[in-house]
């Protein structure tokens, strides 16, 4: 029969798609790719539109910003493997360090290039519980109780999960030592070692309560909120607020622990990529725009803690006052924390036994 006709119509169809294809990339305008972590989807959607407008008003060029989201570790891996990100906006400094180290796409001292450790916004780690807090979760120690189910993503792939883990660890150190400054006091070395052993015990017990580790923060949110698994979700503050806003106020509550970690999600221009694309000036302007008042307003609107003093003041009521320690204070920076806790065979690998 008419198999020939069939084949020729297949060819014709292929050609039609061929005509459609150029419309994917017609415009001569500038394109930027921002490779980001999970919970920033909504923020960058709005921020990108604002920046395009700003850039067009300033230079006349139209700039389109493409977004890619996922667990921060996974995203960094993709950039290392060749995903051509002009800018990376990831969950923690180590992920960008990894890009510098493994693929040499930007200098090792990238974090000094922008103000505030290259972190234009901060956040912290809080708990999301179901309405009425049926399990009575008040602080970190409740998460290690037997019979409570805790949701957190996988620290191996998710930046947020690493903050979660370190926040829990820091809580025990604070409880044991009283003052976190003593962590680096040589005279208290024996006490610190004891406190670290306690912290390890505590975090082990906590992860015994984790039924599922998603690869990114958004996956965990979906697990907790949509699939209804778990009693408490250790979450980015911004992600917790967003979940409440998007999925039903009145279904969940935010619990702020007695102490938490100051999360500084950093941003960086990927030098080798922007030089290849010829997009350095716009990429740099894009990141600097995050620090402007307008950018900081958007940041605050999406529940990230702004750096800009004026904006921070205006949004103060939105965020709970909580004692925050930094990773440098307690863990001696990301490189060290990564090596001790999250590298292959590190403490997390020793602690976490998948069931």
């Amino acid at each position: 029969m008419s198999l020939r006709r069939l084949l020729s119509s297949v060819a014709l169809a292929a050609m039609t798609f061929g005509f459609l294809l150029p419309s994917l990339a017609t415009a001569k305008d500038i394109e930027l790719l921002n490779v980001s972590y999970d919970p920033t989807r909504e923020l960058y959607k709005e921020f990108n539109a604002a920046f395009s407008q700003y850039w067009q008003a300033r230079t006349g060029d139209t700039v389109t910003i493409q977004q890619s989201h996922g667990g921060a570790g996974k995203q960094a891996r993709a950039v290392i493997d060749g995903l051509e990100a002009d800018v990376v906006t990831l969950a923690l400094a180590y992920d960008i360090d990894a890009i510098a180290e493994k693929a040499d796409l930007l200098p090792a001292d990238w974090q000094k290039r922008l103000p505030d450790n290259s972190a234009p916004y901060t956040s912290t780690i809080v708990f999301l519980v179901r309405k009425g807090n049926p399990k009575g979760v008040k602080d970190w120690n409740d998460l290690a109780r037997p019979g409570i189910s805790v949701i957190t993503p996988n620290p191996k792939t998710s930046g947020g999960a690493r903050w979660n883990y370190l926040a829990a660890w820091g809580y025990v150190l604070k409880k044991e030592l009283g003052d976190l400054a003593r962590v680096h006091d040589p005279k208290a070395a024996a006490e610190v070692a004891k406190a670290n052993a306690k912290a390890r015990q505590f975090v082990t017990a906590l992860f015994k309560n984790v039924p599922v580790l998603d690869s990114g923060a958004r996956g965990s949110t979906t697990t907790f909120v949509q699939r209804g698994i778990g009693d408490v979700f250790i979450s980015w503050e911004n992600e917790a607020y967003l979940a409440i806003k998007e999925l039903g106020p009145g279904k969940f509550e935010i619990i702020t622990p007695s102490i938490s970690i100051l999360a500084e999600p950093p941003v960086a221009v990927v030098d080798k990529v922007v030089d290849k694309h010829g997009t350095r000036s716009v990429a740099e302007a894009y990141l600097r725009f995050l620090y402007t008042k307008q950018g900081q307003e958007l940041v605050a609107k999406h529940y990230y803690r702004p750096r800009h003093p004026e904006v921070a003041k205006r949004y103060r009521g939105q965020f709970v006052d909580v004692a925050l320690f930094t990773i440098d204070d307690v863990f001696g920076g990301w490189k060290k924390a990564q090596q001790t806790h999250f590298a292959d065979g590190g403490l997390f690998d020793q602690i976490y036994q998948p069931k």
Binding site: L6, F17, L24, R41, D81, G82, E84, K102, T222
Partner: protein
């Protein structure tokens, strides 16, 4: 027991021929099996399918249609069509060539080739994607050379096409090999003896003999090419509006709490599945018909 039940299921068709051959008709067994089957189908096929459409239409037809106005959704649909438009013809040619080689010739390594064709069925799609990252990624074997020549494979359309071709390449060949083996070489030999050229033999004899199986393979290949998630997810880079195919876009929308749009795009894939089923049934019916028609004539000719 099970055998008895299967026999009974045939009774409506066989009753006239076999009379009351099966006397031990136990109605409850029949109904148990029928209801278990239907219940299972309902639970695992019909209900989820209905859920897709219910969720997609939750906010009305307006919101449903609006989901397709989103440039990112349109780009995902376009990319999916493009990938299928490349992967399916490529596998059609490959499948035909491979099946022909395997069915009509003897050569060294034939068994190995047959086994290799099945490889994508045996390998997890995630691994299929990872293979290409290891091969073409910046840290991979060919990555540095490719990037110095400004060629993007991974995290771009070529990578997605490659991964899709890999995952879908058994479909056409698998359909054709048994049929071509069964048909043997006689007709081709006759054509050649009667003076037909190689191409003529191919177009007039070989191809018409396998056309329905070929079409069947193409339909399945296309369905998988458009629906593939795992392998494509690894090589895509998830750039919104650029390297997201429809299945990936569904996941993104879902993760952004945009349930109506997620299920709207999912409903397109569900519709594709249903069209595939109908087309498949039609092709099966057609091929059975053509076999029935063919048999007496070939018998006469030979």
């Amino acid at each position: 027991m099970a055998a008895g039940a299967t026999l009974q299921q045939h009774t409506p068709w066989n009753a006239s021929r076999e009379g009351h051959g099966i006397r031990a008709e136990i109605p409850w067994i029949k109904w148990t099996f029928v209801s278990v089957t239907l219940g299972y189908l309902g639970l695992f096929l019909a209900v989820p399918l209905a859920a897709v459409f219910t969720e997609a239409l939750r906010k009305g037809i307006g919101a449903y249609l609006e989901s397709f106005q989103d440039p990112a959704a349109l780009a995902a649909i376009r990319l999916t069509l493009l990938v299928a438009a490349i992967a399916v013809p490529a596998n059609l040619v490959f499948g035909l060539a491979a099946a022909w080689a395997i069915a009509k010739f003897n050569f060294l390594g034939k068994n190995l080739l047959t086994t290799l064709i099945d490889l994508p069925f045996a390998v997890s799609p995630v691994i299929s994607g990872l293979i290409y990252v290891l091969l073409f990624g910046q840290q991979g074997w060919l990555g540095p050379w490719l990037s110095s020549h400004d060629v993007n494979v991974i995290f771009a359309v070529p990578g997605i096409v490659l991964a899709t071709i890999f995952v879908t390449f058994p479909f056409v060949a698998r359909e054709l090999i048994p049929l071509m083996q069964e048909q043997g070489n006689e007709e081709e030999e006759a054509a050649l003896v009667l003076g037909a050229g190689a191409w003529q033999t191919f177009w007039r004899v070989t191809l018409p003999n396998v056309k329905w199986a070929l079409l069947y393979g193409v339909i399945l290949c296309n369905a998988r090419a458009m629906g593939e998630f795992g392998a494509v997810s690894v090589v895509s880079g998830h750039i919104r509006g650029k390297t997201n195919t429809m299945p990936l876009h569904v996941e993104i929308l879902y993760n952004e709490y945009n349930f109506v749009a997620a299920f709207a795009v999912a409903s397109l894939l569900a519709i594709l599945a249903m069209v595939t089923l109908v087309a498949k049934t039609f092709v099966e019916w057609k091929s059975r018909q053509s076999v029935e028609l063919l048999e007496p004539t070939t018998a006469e000719e030979v």
